[in-house]
Amino acid sequence: MNVQVQKLWRSPTHAMSRRLIRIEIALIPLALVVFLSAWELLVRWQGYPAFILPSPALVWQRFLALLADGRLLMHTTATVTEVLGGLALGLTVALVAGYGLAKSPLLERILSPYIVASQAVPIVALAPLLVIWFGFGSLSKILVCALTVFFPALVTTMVGIRSVDPDLRALMRSLQATRWQTFALLEAPSALPVMFGGLKVAVTLAVIGAVVGEFVGADRGLGFLINLARGILDTPMLFVALFTLVAIALALYTAVVLLEYVLLKWQRQR
């Protein structure tokens, strides 16, 4: 009987959210159609030349051509590799450092001036240096990317770990939990909601970081492709690269949202 009560109690919210999701799913293609039509109309009325603003159809053609000759795939792979590498590196270092700083006020006092100072230097100014030191290959871009991702991930990790309920800490101590158990059973799950906020910011910043790195010096990647397109006034190709970047950022963001959906199941059960 209790189970039934529980189901009844939950069902209205579920039905409501399902309806909302259905409306959202219908709205996304609709908005896209509106956007593309407005763009097409603008080009026709104003009669812009293709190097100023190409029509959607022209961009689509360019997209197919770049897809066919394999260049788009090559550049996209390069950028995605840098983004994923940068994320992996930046997040790992930020998680470890953030945990350490959250646990040790002394460490925080000693290191925080350097961390803040590192944020005062714009990444665009730092990128050339990294390219000089680590070359034109993907390593320098991975480092630029990692640096961009580091700060938001660090701060959210610290906030997350610091916001752990002190009474739950006392509970874990009263159960004589080990350090590892306290981390795995208490700190990690309770910091997770905050950290997902940071992760969403980080994945979009990671794409920007990779492009900044490629702008400064690279022989491949979507940032390189944009630079190339600008040089030869191939604006349709520039748009293709731009949209591909947007798609990468969206895919990463969606992946994070899905992960959050799976891991934070308990937050939805209210």
Binding site: L168, W266, Q269, R270
Partner: protein, 254 residues
């Protein structure tokens, strides 16, 4: 009376926001016999929670000592169950997983027996059907029952309760009182319970301590000579009402 739990001359200070020291407890001593139900009442801020945390080994006194079976207690122990003022559940764990937490921490959680034991406790505290619900889906009373089950699953010899039912409505509170008495009666666990309800203290306990504030110390002690099992109707009896009045006089006369 053989002392099961002893507090000897406990003194505890805190730094308050203005950086002056606040004497939370001073020269507090008490004895608890094995199997006894002791209740502690006192105005808020008089150091009841601080005392319980010292008795649990969660904090150390500045001076004085806590002894369990004659041995100094310097750190938390698994044989001590603690129920906090709020239910203090992990919102990301289901009812079953919250109750099983102590078994998982003591590494007896992987076995099928431990799972079965947690299930048993879900039923014992009347939450069958809610085993897979999350704390946010439960009422305050249900949450506090989960907290109680979590404290008891290790079969502690000493149960410390810090105003466990303070946030509950009167009816739920009465039901929880009966459940607690049942558990205490069946398991013969020693209980020290802080409450701000004088009648709750007298209804449940063998002995009631009244604490005085600033610094926190024991001001008075009342034996409760009421026969068990106790019935709810008791609280309107003249004998009970007189006891309530006597305890209240000690609290308000500060």
């Amino acid at each position: 009376m053989t002392a099961f739990l002893e507090a000897i001359n406990l003194r505890k200070t805190f730094l308050d926001p203005t950086r002056s020291t606040l004497l939370a407890l001073d020269g507090l001593s008490l004895l608890v016999a094995e199997g006894e139900f002791l209740a502690i009442v006192g105005p808020s801020g008089c150091g009841k929670s601080t005392l319980l945390r010292l008795l649990a080994g969660l904090e150390r006194p500045i001076s004085g000592q806590v002894r369990l079976r004659g041995q100094p207690l310097t750190a938390p122990r698994r044989e001590i169950g603690f129920v906090f003022q709020r239910a203090n559940l992990m919102p990301w764990r289901t009812v079953l997983d919250n109750i099983a937490l102590p078994l998982i921490v003591s590494r007896s959680g992987q076995t099928r027996q431990a799972q079965a034991k947690a299930r048993e406790w879900v039923t014992l505290v009347g939450l069958e059907g809610f085993a897979h619900a999350y704390p946010a889906q439960l009422s305050g009373g249900m949450q506090q029952r989960v907290a109680l089950a979590r404290a008891l699953i290790h079969e502690p010899t000493l149960l410390l309760l810090d105003e466990p039912f303070g946030a509950l409505d009167a009816l739920t509170r009465e039901r929880m009182n009966s459940e607690l008495l049942n558990i205490w009666d069946r398991r013969r666990v020693t209980v020290v319970m802080v409450t701000h309800s004088i009648s709750e203290a007298l209804f449940l306990a063998d002995r009631v301590l009244v604490m005085a504030p600033r610094p926190g110390r024991v001001r008075a002690e009342f034996a409760v000579p009421l026969a068990r099992p106790r019935d709810r109707a008791l609280i309107t009896e003249p004998e009970f009402v007189q006891l309530v009045r006597a305890v209240r006089a000690e609290i308000s006369d500060v």
